[in-house]
């Protein structure tokens, strides 16, 4: 297909005929219009009269132009013009559909599959073999082609991976296709530049044509959160798109009851042209430690989810020293080194033990404390997961504690007195540490040579001692012992927390050990050394769509691998747990950078919105035909044949043709409105002309629709604004009508329509939105306006909703009908005067049918209103009571819609006993 700009031609050679147009011009010019032979008795009077001008023996130029255009249109039309022609690849050979298949494609995954499906359908029609491959899911073996139908069946099984294709994947795929030749490629790309991509592109281009597809949709990526300077720093990227965009960030975590909920939210405000944006959240530690993940709202992709791990957790550590600090000797303070080690990574608490236990810290450090106060409480706290870290010291050594019987708050029995090595009064040299064994949590940590121990408390030999020892001195005596109690543990350092007994607190090893024991938080990015010798098992997994699911059984991963791993099939993004710690592997790495892929000019790039090619042949031929019709009329007019009844019928025909066009168009507009309103349940609201109010109505009904969708089997689509003057009302089961003092009363036709609507079973909710300032019926401007509007409507007698009205139990049991304001009465059709209390039922046998109007002023739409992101637009009340009021308002909305849609079936419940009785007989 030869194309000219966006227009291609199926038979471009026909366009050569356009060159003949000038000849036609000359020919047409030379031939005057044929004369009419007309019998006319008055000819005798005409004899001798000559024409004034001889111009008209040639066709006038505009008529010529008209004819030329008509002929040109015919030529162009038959040349088969096509708007946005699909650049058909030349061959009929096999097609490779290559997807990147990373998380960046997840938001547009459905659209991508749809596009591929269209491609496959085309291929199936042409009988072309197809191969579909996903770069992120490497397969072994050479690429094989199958029928398109086969792939169409399997297409739904493709899922985006939670990682992006790496260079190795590109290379691996290039190897797979190395021996396959002669196919064209559709590359479903996420549009990001990557290493290895250009090589693969070159390889593919050597096999055949390559076309690329990219989604124009903005994709957000969220870097792992960092904790710096007391605030959580979040950095987001956008992979596409410009302009000022604000992306909402939500922090999820478990609340005290264990339910997952949004704990905090923020927004990434991208400036125009900026690809990254950052935000900071300041949260109290209690809340912060509960956060399990951050997510960009409204983005279903692994890249928009960032799991948190210990890097974000700030442990609360309580420090208790056994003796008063000696003034002026800070370096001798038993807690000094612990303070220094823990301040950067943990929140420290001090105080009395009873107070500390109430604060429920993660760790309690007892430095040289022999007698633990509130021991039973401490034990209970440990059993529930607390870590009790004890350091030895002169007091512990001298205390008569755990000598014969093991103290519950000590991991081992202790020998009295301890020992001193390498001092002035003892033999030997200070002992160094022995390398950590593989069962030790410290396995892999490097032991500095200058760490030495000169004094320690000694453990009694015990059968369990070996198991409980996690660090030993070079001579095999335990240095650190540990005992698990319930979910928690008690750890004892057999040396002091200051440098009196050993140089351990002076070394970096001390910090590492604290970290390994999950006492201090680990640095944000663990290095391979940090994780050396540890094993990690995936606990939770992030899918490509950003959903969190249990990882299931999988092989453990070595810490060193985990520290350096890129997310991929071997190390899928998720949460990995080690002994007491967790590490999150996120799809987006820290300091990630994104660059759009620059496709070479030889690769046509399509957006995913399938630009349907539009054959223009019909339009052009129609235009030519229309020109010929005009030419016909013009020729007739010019040669004097267009007169009398002919002129009339010509005018009628023209008017009819033009009229038909307009009628067709307006009918089409009407049709689309009707289709939109009837293909799904749609709630309607009356457009008042006040833009802000209309937006509120829309948002309110959207909120109500969403609530209905979530809670009931009514699944409405977005609400529709109704112009009562022009739009058909019958499509809407429910219409919300906010009344303002400014709006105009409807016209007589609109009233006729509204009355027909009310008679036909529709419901209008009139909302004067002044429930906070006026009681209904009082003289607020809106209420007066409502009276004026409602005057011509067929509204039955009204009464405030009685306690036994169906609305009080259509779905939820309700007695209040609040909106944003509360307490104003809500009026519905009055019950018939002869309604009787039914035996054994708490409600009367009320009227059949649905109340046609509900009138009130509680400003329901504002209570229901959500914005595009699903957040409440208006505050209702205050605090929990306000949220409760909003909930009741939503329930009222649900009841209302249920009442509209299901009528009074709840009312019919009163007949159930009678019916059952009758059935029984």
């Amino acid at each position: 297909m030869w194309s000219l700009g966006p227009i291609g031609f199926a038979a471009p050679w026909l366009l050569v005929a356009l060159a003949a147009l000038p000849i036609l011009w000359i020919l047409l010019r030379a031939v005057p219009p044929a004369p009419i032979r007309r019998r006319f008795p008055g000819v005798a009077l005409l004899l001798g009269l000559t024409d004034d001008e001889t111009q008209t023996d040639k066709t006038p130029w505009w008529l010529l132009l008209l004819r030329m255009l008509a002929v040109a249109a015919a030529i162009i039309g038959f040349a088969g013009p096509v708007l946005n022609p699909e650049t058909e690849d030349d061959g009929r050979g096999p097609i490779l559909v290559l997807m990147d298949g990373g998380w960046a494609e997840a938001p547009s995954w459905a659209a991508r599959l749809e596009r591929i499906d269209a491609l496959l359908a085309d291929a199936a029609r042409d009988g072309r073999p197809v191969a579909v491959a996903q770069l992120t899911a490497p397969e072994a073996g050479a690429l094989t082609f199958q029928t398109a139908e086969e792939w169409q069946r399997r297409l739904a099984g493709f899922e985006p991976a939670a990682w992006t294709p790496s260079e190795e994947m590109h290379v691996a795929f290039a190897e797979r296709i190395a021996d396959v030749t002669g196919f064209n490629t559709f590359w479903m790309s996420d549009g990001q530049a990557r290493a290895g991509r250009d090589d693969l592109l070159g390889e593919l281009q050597s096999k055949g044509d390559v076309r690329a597809f990219e989604s124009p949709r903005a994709v957000f990526a969220l870097e792992p959160a960092r904790f710096e300077d007391g605030e959580i720093r979040l950095t987001g990227h956008r992979l596409r798109g410009t302009g000022e965009v604000s992306a909402a960030i939500q922090a999820f975590g478990r609340d005290p009851s264990g339910a997952e909920r949004v704990l905090a939210s923020g927004s990434l405000d991208f400036e125009d042209g900026a690809a990254t944006a950052g935000t900071a959240l300041v949260l109290p530690p209690e809340l912060r430690n509960r956060i399990t993940r951050f997510a960009v709202q409204g983005q279903r992709s692994a890249g928009a989810v960032s799991l948190t791990d210990d890097g974000l957790r700030r442990r609360e550590v309580a420090l208790i020293a056994g003796r008063e600090d000696r003034e002026g000797l800070q370096l001798l303070s038993p807690l000094h080194y612990l303070n220094q080690a823990l301040v950067p990574t943990a929140d420290l608490i001090d105080g009395a033990m009873a107070d500390i236990l109430r604060a429920n810290p993660d760790v309690i450090v007892l430095a040289d404390v022999a007698q633990v106060s509130d021991a039973p409480d401490v034990l209970e706290w440990v059993e529930q997961g607390g870590v009790l870290l004890r350091f030895a010291g002169p007091r512990l050594a001298s205390a008569d504690l755990g000598r014969e019987v093991e103290d519950p708050l000590l991991p081992v029995r202790l020998r009295a007195g301890g020992r001193s090595i390498g001092g002035a009064m003892s033999w030997g040299e200070p002992k160094t540490l022995r390398a950590f064994g593989p069962n030790s949590p410290f396995f892999g940590l490097e032991i500095p040579q200058d760490v030495s121990v000169s004094a320690q408390v000694l453990a009694q030999p015990d059968p369990e001692l070996a198991d409980r020892t996690i660090a030993t001195l070079a001579d095999g005596t335990p240095l650190v012992t540990r005992k698990r109690i319930g979910d928690g543990q008690v750890i004892l350092f057999h040396v002091t927390a200051n440098a009196e007994w050993s140089s351990l607190p002076l070394s970096g090893l001390f910090v590492d050990m604290l970290e390994r024991m999950a006492i201090s938080s680990r640095p944000a990015v663990p290095t391979a050394e940090d994780l050396e010798g540890t094993m990690w098992v995936a606990d939770q997994r992030v899918t490509g769509f950003g959903e969190i699911e249990p990882a299931g059984a999988s092989a453990g991963i070595e810490g060193a691998v985990l520290a350096t791993a890129e997310p991929g099939p071997d190390v899928p993004p998720g949460l990995y747990t080690g002994e007491d710690r967790t590490i999150a592997i996120n799809a987006v790495a820290r300091e990630a950078s994104f660059a759009p892929q620059a496709w070479p000019g030889s690769v046509p790039v399509e957006g995913l919105d399938v630009v349907r090619e539009t054959p223009l042949k019909g339009f052009v031929l129609m235009a030519g035909l229309a020109l010929l019709m005009i030419d016909l009329l013009a020729s007739l007019a010019l040669s004097g044949r267009l007169r009398g009844p002919r002129a009339r019928s010509a005018a009628q025909a023209a008017a009819l043709a033009i009229g038909t066009l307009f009628v067709a168009q307006s009918a089409e507009a009407q049709d689309s409105f009707a289709l939109g309103a009837t293909s799904e349940v749609v709630l309607g609201y009356v457009i008042t002309g006040d833009a802000a109010l209309d937006q509120t109505s829309f948002d309110g009904l959207r909120g109500l629709s969403r609530t209905l969708f979530q809670r009931t089997s009514v699944e409405p689509v977005d609400p529709v604004g109704i112009n009562v003057e022009t739009d058909e009302l019958a499509f809407f089961p429910f219409i919300y009508w906010p009344v303002t003092a400014e709006q105009d009363a409807p016209s007589a036709q609109a009233y006729a329509k509204l009355n027909r609507y009310l008679r036909g079973g529709g419901m209008i909710l009139f909302d004067t939105r002044d429930g906070d300032t006026a009681r209904f019926g009082a003289t607020s401007p809106a209420a007066r306006k409502l009276q004026q509007i409602a005057q011509p409507l067929d509204i039955p007698p009204l009464e405030p909703i009685p306690n036994d009205h169906v609305l009080t139990r259509a779905f939820y049991l309700l007695q209040d009908f609040p909106g944003r304001s509360m307490g104003a009465p809500v009026w519905v059709e009055a019950a018939p005067a002869d309604a009787q209390q039914v035996d054994g039922m708490p409600f009367r046998n009320l009227n059949d049918g649905v109340t046609p109007v509900v009138v009130g002023g509680n400003d329901w739409a504002s209570a229901w209103a959500i914005d595009r992101s699903g957040n409440w637009r208006f505050r209702v009340g205050s605090g929990f009571a306000g949220e409760r009021q909003r909930e009741i308002a939503l329930r009222f909305g649900v009841n209302l819609i249920m009442h509209v849609l299901s009528g009074n079936y709840k009312s019919d419940q009163v007949h159930v006993p009678a019916l059952l009785d009758r059935l029984g007989q």
């Binding site: 008795p41 008055g42 005409l46 001008e53 008209t56 010019l638």
Partner: protein, 290 residues
């Protein structure tokens, strides 16, 4: 004969609403024969006209003694003047009369209808009606209507444009020429001169089609006469309209002038107008005293 019968029926229908037409005679002439109905003035005749007081010049025997005996003066009994007038008719049956624009009858039809209608009126009034030339000399009586209708209905193929037949005109009779007068006007002038020489008065009725008055043509056109004998080609018919209309008006003026000079009446009738209007005019023209 059915066409003739139709024509007659239509003509009688048209003539029915009219009172009897009493054609005035200008003067007594030898050719005037006594008819059987009066002329609404005293004269020779059988019917009583009026009593009048006797004048000195009245002969005695003219006095009606019976009437005079009832009064002191003598009365003369006058009788109504009763004559019959000859009216001759020329209805153009040239091809040009067969022209009709859409929706109206041909000029020829209208001309024959009017001619026969006025003939019926005149015949009922006791006049003698005939055609010019010698094919149908003036006669009185109902049967003449049949004969006129028959002749008018079978005119035969005429030339492109008609020329008045001026022969057979009785002196001091009345004549009626019905035509479109589109052809050469000279024969008309000759006929009028001849009529004036013989003391024949009458009327020219010019029957025109509305298109001949409006000339609603445009574009390249070849105009041809109804017989095809005369051709005129134009490239822009619309341009000719004003000049054609000028010529038409000049033709009308010419005919009106000649008619006035000869003591005739001239009237233009269009086929889209009511035939009764034309008949009314004819009635007046034929009854007019000079």
């Amino acid at each position: 004969m059915s066409i003739a019968a139709d024509l007659r029926a239509a003509s009688e229908e048209l003539a029915a609403p009219f009172p009897r037409l009493l054609a005035g005679a200008e003067q007594l002439a030898a050719t005037v024969m006594l008819g059987d109905h009066g002329r609404r003035r005293a004269g020779t005749g059988d019917d009583f006209w009026q009593y009048r007081p006797a004048q000195l010049h009245d002969p005695l025997r003219a006095i009606d003694w019976r009437r005079s005996g009832r009064a002191d003066v003598e009365f003369i009994r006058e009788r109504e003047w009763q004559i019959a007038q000859s009216v001759i008719l020329w209805v153009d049956h040239a091809a040009s009369m067969n022209f009709a624009s859409e929706g109206v009858e041909t000029k020829s039809e209208r001309a024959r209808l009017l001619g026969l209608a006025i003939s019926i009126l005149l015949l009922r009034g006791g006049e003698r009606v005939g055609l010019t030339g010698f094919s149908l000399p003036p006669r009185a009586g109902q049967f003449q209507i049949e004969r006129l209708a028959e002749v008018l209905n079978s005119p035969g193929e005429g030339p492109d444009f008609g020329q008045p037949e001026a022969r057979g005109m009785l002196p001091h009779s009345r004549a009626l020429f019905v035509s479109d007068f589109m052809g050469d006007p000279d024969p008309v002038e000759q006929a009028l001169k001849k009529a004036a020489d013989r003391g024949v008065g009458g009327a020219l009725l010019m029957v025109l089609d509305p298109e001949e008055e409006a000339f609603p043509y445009d574009g390249r056109t070849i105009f041809e006469s109804m017989g095809g004998g005369v051709l005129h080609e134009t490239l822009k018919a619309g341009e000719l309209k004003t000049r054609y209309l000028d010529r038409l008006a000049a033709r009308k003026d010419l005919l009106a002038g000649w008619a006035r000079a000869a003591g005739w009446q001239f009237h233009v009738h269009h086929t889209d107008q009511s035939a009764q209007a034309a008949l009314l005019w004819l009635y007046g023209a034929m009854a007019r005293h000079h």
